[in-house]
Symmetry: D3
Subunit: 312 residues, 6 copies
Amino acid sequence: MSALNTEGKKERVAYVDEEFLPESEAKISILDAAFVHGDSVQEFTRTFNGELFKFDEHMDRLVKSLRCTRINLSISIVELKEVSLEIVRRNKSLLGPNDDGWVVNLISSGILPKWREKGVEYKGSTIAIHFKPLPFESYAEYYKKGARAIVAWTRRASPQSIDPKMKQCSRMDLNVATREVERMNPKAYAILLDQQGNITEGDGQNFFIVTKGVIKTPTLHNTLGGISRATVIELAKKGNIPIEETNIYPYDVYNADEAFLTATSFCILPLTEFNLMSISDSKPGPITKQLLEMWSEEVGMDIVGQAMSHLK
Amino acid sequence: MSALNTEGKKERVAYVDEEFLPESEAKISILDAAFVHGDSVQEFTRTFNGELFKFDEHMDRLVKSLRCTRINLSISIVELKEVSLEIVRRNKSLLGPNDDGWVVNLISSGILPKWREKGVEYKGSTIAIHFKPLPFESYAEYYKKGARAIVAWTRRASPQSIDPKMKQCSRMDLNVATREVERMNPKAYAILLDQQGNITEGDGQNFFIVTKGVIKTPTLHNTLGGISRATVIELAKKGNIPIEETNIYPYDVYNADEAFLTATSFCILPLTEFNLMSISDSKPGPITKQLLEMWSEEVGMDIVGQAMSHLK
Amino acid sequence: MSALNTEGKKERVAYVDEEFLPESEAKISILDAAFVHGDSVQEFTRTFNGELFKFDEHMDRLVKSLRCTRINLSISIVELKEVSLEIVRRNKSLLGPNDDGWVVNLISSGILPKWREKGVEYKGSTIAIHFKPLPFESYAEYYKKGARAIVAWTRRASPQSIDPKMKQCSRMDLNVATREVERMNPKAYAILLDQQGNITEGDGQNFFIVTKGVIKTPTLHNTLGGISRATVIELAKKGNIPIEETNIYPYDVYNADEAFLTATSFCILPLTEFNLMSISDSKPGPITKQLLEMWSEEVGMDIVGQAMSHLK
Amino acid sequence: MSALNTEGKKERVAYVDEEFLPESEAKISILDAAFVHGDSVQEFTRTFNGELFKFDEHMDRLVKSLRCTRINLSISIVELKEVSLEIVRRNKSLLGPNDDGWVVNLISSGILPKWREKGVEYKGSTIAIHFKPLPFESYAEYYKKGARAIVAWTRRASPQSIDPKMKQCSRMDLNVATREVERMNPKAYAILLDQQGNITEGDGQNFFIVTKGVIKTPTLHNTLGGISRATVIELAKKGNIPIEETNIYPYDVYNADEAFLTATSFCILPLTEFNLMSISDSKPGPITKQLLEMWSEEVGMDIVGQAMSHLK
Amino acid sequence: MSALNTEGKKERVAYVDEEFLPESEAKISILDAAFVHGDSVQEFTRTFNGELFKFDEHMDRLVKSLRCTRINLSISIVELKEVSLEIVRRNKSLLGPNDDGWVVNLISSGILPKWREKGVEYKGSTIAIHFKPLPFESYAEYYKKGARAIVAWTRRASPQSIDPKMKQCSRMDLNVATREVERMNPKAYAILLDQQGNITEGDGQNFFIVTKGVIKTPTLHNTLGGISRATVIELAKKGNIPIEETNIYPYDVYNADEAFLTATSFCILPLTEFNLMSISDSKPGPITKQLLEMWSEEVGMDIVGQAMSHLK
Amino acid sequence: MSALNTEGKKERVAYVDEEFLPESEAKISILDAAFVHGDSVQEFTRTFNGELFKFDEHMDRLVKSLRCTRINLSISIVELKEVSLEIVRRNKSLLGPNDDGWVVNLISSGILPKWREKGVEYKGSTIAIHFKPLPFESYAEYYKKGARAIVAWTRRASPQSIDPKMKQCSRMDLNVATREVERMNPKAYAILLDQQGNITEGDGQNFFIVTKGVIKTPTLHNTLGGISRATVIELAKKGNIPIEETNIYPYDVYNADEAFLTATSFCILPLTEFNLMSISDSKPGPITKQLLEMWSEEVGMDIVGQAMSHLK
């Protein structure tokens, strides 16, 4: 059951601090550490045909992010999962035809310690969960013609500062990189290098190239262990396509046969331009397409078709 | 005028999104980029005797942080200042005797672009302003006996990722460092090194040592240009005490004659222990005390006395 | 006296391997180490009113470049100067009205050792000298409206590989950076960062900012000791404008009051855009203009006026 | 057909700018970007028994170097190959008995843009091709007694500046390293370390060690992807000798059982001294010899024998 | 035969400078380079049931350390082994029941060259060998309850300064790290990171984690090639447990399923706390225990049982 | 009073572990942490005309080294000074005519903790003090003709591992560097670079250059704060010669007008060759000589003359 908003229209339901309430009323205090200190972790899990995909893997990574950030989750992970499933259930009916969504888990360390009043009891963490339809229209066109990626000036934070394996919300390096590239080309994806000049990832996307039949992606030393990234590795193994986790320099991308991004939303998105140079003859490559097809098969639906149906 | 909260007691007033409202109702959407992406900047400006100290300098730094993060402020800086002053005015009467507070400005880039609904108009930025009494009781005791500082395992993000000169809210390196040190000693301040092992700063404090009569502090290559830091530099010049901005290694601190932190709240706090080794014979040093006295004189009140009056 | 080319028109005279000959016939062997290994050093010295400016300083730097690259000059430096002056003399009459030029010295290590035939005697170095009118039309417009600079993806070679203080011809980092930026904006100057993310220089230009009345430029640890750079330092001292050699991060440029480039050709060129962000209200700044005026005074001619007279 | 030089003797023919002409007349303008900016790429392909070896692989790498340097080749790669083959054909008859040669391809970006005259048409690139007998006498003796290698002070340019995978001509780091080592021992090969102290390569040679039966060579993160290096990898696989691409520190070389260099000219050259310490009991090792024999077999000729026949 | 000390009690025998003598009289000159310059290498080889374990491997590593430090051993390695065996023989009878020991080889470069008197003959190296019972009581308790490890502030020397693969005695980084951690917790093992923040090793221990059934340990680029480390690799292969040499960041340890140290003395010691966070539910993990059992089997004795028998 | 050795000749007296005894009997246990772990600190203080020079400064630095290494001195620093003076007194008479010596203080952390027997009491530190005549003959010739310096392959340990400001005895980087250079040229001084390629120091010498009248020396970020280095800084100030602490790259040395080393023994030694390239026209430079003269004046004796009188 979803909420009714003030105009009497059905509205998505979100969950904050032990309450289910309309998304437009789902808020956190301006004293929350999430706001003042970026002190939170996150997970986005998408549905295929309304079913959450690899939700356990996402929750497993969340636990790891919590442990490394030393943020305490004030409920059990089992409860967190249940509420998340409930949020999916309550909002699913609001999805349009041929639609899917993602459930978003955000956990912060709660009200900033120095602003807690004496004698008042505070929750150990702030938990916010909500559900959104996938933004198909923002990427659907690229499945066929390929997307562009451009390296930002800003470098990804080094692992000895903020380990990229933690999926956390202090993302100013990613935020600025995104806006730097937006000024160069508002339709390009920003890619960040690490401190030594290796490719790492985009703001929410993992990066892959294909060279002479071998798929390559940055190692987990400078990049997030994306669930979609792991899925591609599994699919490649299943399809007997060799795959390597290795350092990738811009040289390798300029001379790659194919390149693609992975993300929870679009799964796999072909890249046909990198740093204003065309890759792969400006067309999505065969291995990229094969992986997309294998993934579609795995989830029993046409990933590309679904997205493209949202293009007018 | 301050607000009445639900129990009829007077409550502090905050400002969010063009509205003045009780602090307990001052909230931001869970869809705000501040929550999901740590995409915000901040300033904390304290009062002395109820008057804001160097508010223009704080606002000037805010403008610089906004420019570098490419976050647009949806009102003018003049309006922002006015509202901030209004917030101080409305809350001052709630301060206790011998109390002072700080006004907090937080500006985020607003609702995350990918979650904005078509056809709906959104503000370009989220503006939150509130006012808090200073947490004197958390540091007052250290003016006389000196505080402890311990180097965290986590390193400060490198300037090519998140320039420390931006006062922004993606602070996970600082958050984790604070909690790392908290487990070693809950009463110690966490200090972070840069990627090469130089001292940078604490989570909201600048770092200083005094060696053979010369004050030293890290350069602006790896540390925030704190307003209190700048005040110490001015005071030192006024007092003819030589001061240098330079790289500082742990060796230099172990062998320093004095050490201290600066912050908007406590101004100057003597350090008498660093990495579990005593500094300065475990007593606040003479130059540290001289600087504190000069500052008190400058603002026309007894900084240490005020703080200590809050110790029971 | 200048040469006659095949069409009977007067042509500029160049000097290669002990011969004066028409520029179009001035060539080096395809076996020369300059071609195969980029094994050469260079100097460009401009004239003001037909007189070489700081030619001794340029030759002094050439000697240092030769020493560090271990390239032997097969004639004396005195002879090299004489021939250079002769080249200026012979070509000056070909300059148009209100024109000036630069004399170019290129010294390579001669025919690649492994390709030298036994029993044949080879010169120890290849010496090429020529004279060109200055390309005023390529930069004149920027004196008034300011130029744009953009940071390239490619980083400047580190000093432990190719010390930027050597003015030498293995410039692939600079070549690629120039072409990277050309694709973003064909009218922008490329700026390179060093391995740690500090600003270094452009492909032939030194970089300066002005912040609160202080001029700042990168140190000689990561940048060429440009003769024009040294001239600005002298002028600043003469004009009592404080100047510092220091590390400069993009943050510092975004928040600078002014910025400019220096080069042998244009002397000082105002920058009003950096990384697609405006600087200095998009107008050349007052200190930049003052320095240009001081320089004009020093050389007894209107530097900006001369350049602008070449705009149609 | 080869050319006649001015003394009526047959001379090798080279190709420059669409013309075949005697090598001694094959020249490029002193205004060429190759001379002034080291702005060119190169390939050296050798013959065995007069047949080019892996010419397609060399041309493939050339295309990659061109792409990354953004130098445009003004003819097609097919034409380039044809001319190269023609150059081999025309010069082969000038080879002595038991001789072989290498064809050299050099492509620059042509006359420096800023020196191009208005109204004149320029080629997009300068193409120079020539053919030289191999310098057997410079290395033949080392097949039996082993060569020496010494680490130079100069470090190899970092991949974020000039990616070593590009075979390009801005080689000042390699040039200086060669001359540094020449002063220590004129018969030693110079080896360069990367910025972190790992072995990379020599000036035109890849580096290998053998430890407990395993062949090791630096990865493509800091070294050129040599065609001979690739051949060794193939031969090792064919011979079931384990081979690894990995970081190699001087420690590993001091304690290696064998070491060798690879290059287009000598294929494989045993090393028996490194940094003035003997390796491999000062004798070429068994795996080194086995690889050389396998290579000889592959090309149907005695590689070592041919070279040694040129020793008087 | 062991020595009689001054009180007529039997005392262990040591060997210094070609002499067997009571341990209490085994000394080196204060002029020895070992004392003044830390100029020595070392090996510790333990016995199981009185038999030296992998003594050849230890001696092989000693030879490598000598070669890289350029310290000359003034006797042959065969002689060194013989004396070492003799030392074991002479001291074994002094071991208590259920005891074992380790033989310690220390080789320095002898009297510091600048302090050698003219006309006096000096040995090329100082050789000291002694035998000690294993300090079971210092670690036995941790087999069952697990040990703690804490990252020190001091970083492991970089391989381009002192390659960690050399087992040598200039260990100030390790010494200081040990004492840093001792002040945090006197019962914790110190772990050092490398210059980039990867885990390296402890002061005499290699570091391992187990994640999803895969054993991981730092590579030989930043850590000693421990003989116990090699034994674990062998055992893992024998037991078909996948094992990887890779970079390990603190993130990986916080999220590991198990962790353990290896050393010559205790072989394998479970870790259950790292940086004040529990690992492996604070209990030694199953793979850790399996490896310990396999090792016990290999040496024909109960490693854990022996150690625990020394706990009172 | 000095000791009689076994042949009845007078012998120098040393001090170890609270005992004065003949130097040849002055020894430390092979179980001492100095031997096994390089766990000690040191000071060398020379006499001029038999009087210790800046002994307080040396002892002050010793205290700092002890604090940072966390080695406890088991007697007071006052007692240590007294014994040191006593050692000088007792040995002075053994000096030859026109001779001087240096007193050597070595403090280790005593018997290695893991080898201490239960129930036995151990000293907290091992203290060794001895006195040696200066090795004039090893450097005297270089005052007039200049010495050679060569950069070693080994790099100086980074400050985050072993801070070079600690004068301590784990010197394997320096030991190996010395032996590396010895093989290139047994009469050259080894110079080490830091991790980034800057000049640091030699094995016991600080490094200086003079360029256009300005003296330059590496900063204390990568080099020992030598007492002789400090003396040169004082002398330069007294003589109004500008002096800078700054990063120095090999480029700067190749192009320097003068270069010299400082050390406790020789005070100042001119360098006339660096990396096999001549500096300063191969003759000691005027500022180098002026500094030496000022120093001689300060200590009331002819430093160069004394040294040269020891050349036969």
